[in-house]
């Protein structure tokens, strides 16, 4: 009996040691290879060629991941449920959550080849995570299943990978516009601003009539970068980043920074220090926004609802216009981008069924109607018609989208939102925060901004 125990112990130990050796071997081999190749190590979907739509599908389980708020989660879960009813045998496992740290978690999945079959992606992810064009499946391969003709060529072009393949379908286009808490403006006895002059005047009126804590607009560091870009693009009539290169001189950037700081000086926007002192995780959770002391925001047209819903009872949330005369001319300087897309991982074992899910969510009358405008106004023509017919387009989002698309003059380069610029240690936070905290002047800030954007452009 004793010998048997020893024999068993030795056997188990030997097996565990062997399994360790196996792990070690695999780890060292992956270490030797370039990490960008990790995603290609298992890429069953990458080499499938064009998948025919023969009306058949496999019984299988596919995974679908997205980020968003509660209402988006509810709508998407409902759509997934209906998809599974329509295609019995396909099981969709869902993974969803809030944006916070979502990107880092998905990045690790893309890198390790364990990403979901269908992924909600940001436009910038294609540059960041698919620099070799081998993480997201070229959707041309599943064009018999996903009706790509429902999207304009321009919008599809924004999600192209380095090889010219379509890395994802755009769910919606988006841009930023202004939104106002009209109740505060009523209390101040003025209308919501439509021009830069009116906005400046509102700053003074708020201060005099309502008090020092009241501002017509609140802008964080990244909001300031966008608003400054609108100003510069309007004034100089050119995009901030064109063909991957910074298109403005240091002097021109200084002009933009002076413009932002003039808004702070005119009591139009609170300082970054003031916003930091509020210690709110985001503006929609800031009590000063909720009770109307911050009476305006610059936000994506696809995301106003969380602000609208956050406002205190009885307060009126209205969609504003893009400011006229921002750059002293008729230009708006507004840019738009793909708000987000749906993509299939090259590691997917079931690209056909994954494509069927995307087709259902974006183009199918039933699926698109359930998804509604939770991700913005649907970019797919069929999806838009179905959503509109079902009354699923939110009025606020629709109004904002119309204003943004009518004012749009440029397409945002994904570099503008790269981590080096937008990240928590990025250039925007450093430059706009430092200026507001009076750590340096606009000339020094312009140098930092110029160097930062130039470095991000590479």
């Amino acid at each position: 009996m004793k010998n048997l125990k020893k024999f068993l112990s030795l056997g188990i130990a030997a097996a565990m040691t062997l399994s360790l050796a196996a792990c070690g071997g695999s780890a060292s081999s992956s270490q030797g290879a370039a990490p960008a190749d990790a995603s290609t190590a298992t890429a069953p979907a990458a080499n499938v060629g064009t998948i025919e739509n023969d009306g058949n599908y496999d019984e299988c389980t596919i995974k679908f991941s997205w980020w968003g708020g509660d209402s988006r989660h509810a709508a998407t879960q409902e759509a997934v449920k209906k998809f599974m009813e329509k295609y019995p045998g396909i099981t969709v496992e869902v993974n969803f959550g809030a944006w916070s740290d979502w990107e880092a978690a998905r990045a690790l999945e893309f890198q390790s080849g364990t990403a979901a079959d269908v992924n909600q992606i940001n436009q910038s992810w294609i540059n960041e995570f698919d620099s070799a064009g081998n993480v997201f499946l070229d959707l041309n391969q599943v064009s018999e299943i996903i009706d790509l003709s429902q999207w304009s060529e321009d919008s599809l072009a924004q999600l192209k990978d380095v090889n010219g393949g379509i890395a994802g379908v755009p769910v919606a286009m988006t841009g930023r516009t202004l939104y106002w808490d009209k109740t505060t403006f009523d209390e101040a006895g003025i209308g919501v601003p439509t021009t830069l002059e009116e906005l400046r005047a509102a700053g003074k009126t708020f201060q005099e009539k309502l008090g020092d804590e009241y501002y017509p607009l609140a802008l964080g560091e990244f909001d300031r970068a966008i608003f400054m870009t609108f100003y510069l693009q309007a004034k100089y009539g050119k995009a901030i980043i064109e063909d991957g290169q910074l298109n403005f001189t240091e002097e021109e950037l200084k002009d933009g920074l002076d413009f932002i700081m003039s808004l702070e000086a005119d009591h139009v926007i609170p300082s970054i220090k003031t916003i930091d002192g509020d210690a709110a995780a985001s503006l929609d959770q800031n009590p000063k926004f909720i009770d109307g002391r911050y009476a305006g925001i610059l936000e994506w047209d696809s995301a106003p609802l969380k602000y609208k819903n956050a406002l205190g009872e009885g307060r009126e949330f209205v969609v504003g216009e893009e400011l006229k005369n921002l750059g002293g001319n008729d230009n708006t300087g507004v840019f738009t981008k793909v708000s987000l897309g749906f993509a299939i991982s090259t590691t997917s074992q079931h690209p056909k069924e994954a494509a069927m899910l995307i087709e259902y969510l974006c183009n199918d009358p039933e699926g698109a109607a359930i998804m509604g405008s939770e991700r913005g106004i649907p970019e797919s023509k069929a999806g838009y018609e179905a959503t509109e017919a079902a009354g699923g387009i939110d009025e606020t989002i629709a109004a904002a989208h119309e204003i943004v698309m009518a004012a749009s003059e440029y397409a945002e380069d994904p570099i503008f939102e790269s981590n080096d610029l937008k990240g928590s240690e990025g250039t925007y936070k450093y430059v706009f925060g430092g200026l507001s905290y009076e750590e340096f002047d606009t000339a020094e800030a312009a140098t930092e901004l110029y160097d930062g954007i130039s470095a991000a452009c590479g």
Partner: protein, 292 residues
């Protein structure tokens, strides 16, 4: 063979632990050292090998500032926490009414640990117009802006850790219970005051426990992450950006594993240095009863 197996069978029993150690500790430890000499980015691969990451960690303004703040944080938090924990343990060692209730109450913050919920609560307490500012205003004083003043911001992060002194206190309490009563009686007969008794009897006899707490708290302080990440997110203007936050940002925001590994190794070497200094210094101030 039989004799060999008999003599070494114990070794095989620890193989499960050994596997865990090798896979989850030794391998990451070794690979991070290797990566620290490369420009390994999760999505761009690795093209260079050299000391560039260490050069960046030790020369780039942002990193040097974070190192300085980490030192400041550790050297504020550790002594404060040890003093508060020892003081409260000393008081709770007396025969007081409802002493167990007090012990439990003081220990509770430690159970909560560095949790997200407590950090969120801390943020709500110290924000502008938060409870602490309102209380200060009630006394007619003008409160500082805890979240935007760099010095205050770091202090409130320290305060959170100091507030969680319960576990350290319990260890001190156990040590205090081990100090022989007859020494105090003899000192009393010789006319020693409580103050004198504390410094001449209590402190010397519990120096091994002070030493233990010093090492564990030092390690914990240099690794602090939750508090500054959630309460201030490294702000204002980087005033609470400890090295751990920079490591996280480099690894999981910029995916620069080479730089993140180098930062982690610099932090490890610093910690090793201070631990070694502490161990070296103990012969001058730590009293072990078995040394006679």
């Amino acid at each position: 063979m039989k004799k060999w197996a008999k003599n070494n069978v114990g070794f095989f029993f620890i193989i499960p632990w050994l596997i865990g150690f090798l896979v989850f500790k030794a391998y990451p430890f070794g690979s991070s050292l290797y990566y620290s000499f490369t420009d390994y980015n999760l999505f761009k691969g690795m093209t260079k090998f050299g000391l560039m990451n260490y050069q960046e960690v030790l020369t780039k303004r942002q990193n040097v500032t974070a190192l300085a703040i980490t030192f400041k944080y550790a050297f504020m938090t550790v002594p404060l926490k040890l003093i508060v924990a020892l003081l409260i343990a000393y008081i709770l060692n007396f025969k007081l009414k409802a002493v167990n209730l007090f012990r439990t109450a003081y220990y509770i913050p430690s159970i909560l640990g560095g949790s997200v919920a407590i950090s969120v609560l801390w943020r709500a307490l110290f924000k502008d117009d938060g409870l602490i500012q309102q209380m200060i205003r009630m006394f007619g004083a003008t409160p500082p802006s805890f979240m935007t003043d760099p010095n205050w911001a770091l202090f409130i992060i320290c305060l959170l850790r100091v507030w969680q002194f319960g576990s350290t206190m319990v260890i001190f309490l156990a040590a205090l219970k081990g100090v022989p009563e007859d020494l105090y009686e003899a000192a009393s007969l010789d006319g020693a005051t409580k103050w004198r008794q504390f410094f001449s009897i209590t402190v010397p006899l519990i120096t091994p426990v002070i030493f233990y707490n010093l090492i564990t708290q030092l390690v914990q302080a240099f690794q602090e992450f939750n508090g500054p990440f959630i309460i201030t997110n490294g702000g204002p203007r980087g005033a609470t950006t400890l090295m751990s936050i920079l490591i996280y940002n480099a690894a999981f925001k910029a995916y620069d594993m080479g730089l993140a590994s180098a930062m982690a190794w610099v932090l490890f070497v610093i910690l090793l240095f201070f631990t070694a200094i502490s161990f070296w210094s103990q012969k001058h101030w730590v009293y072990y009863s078995d040394e006679g």
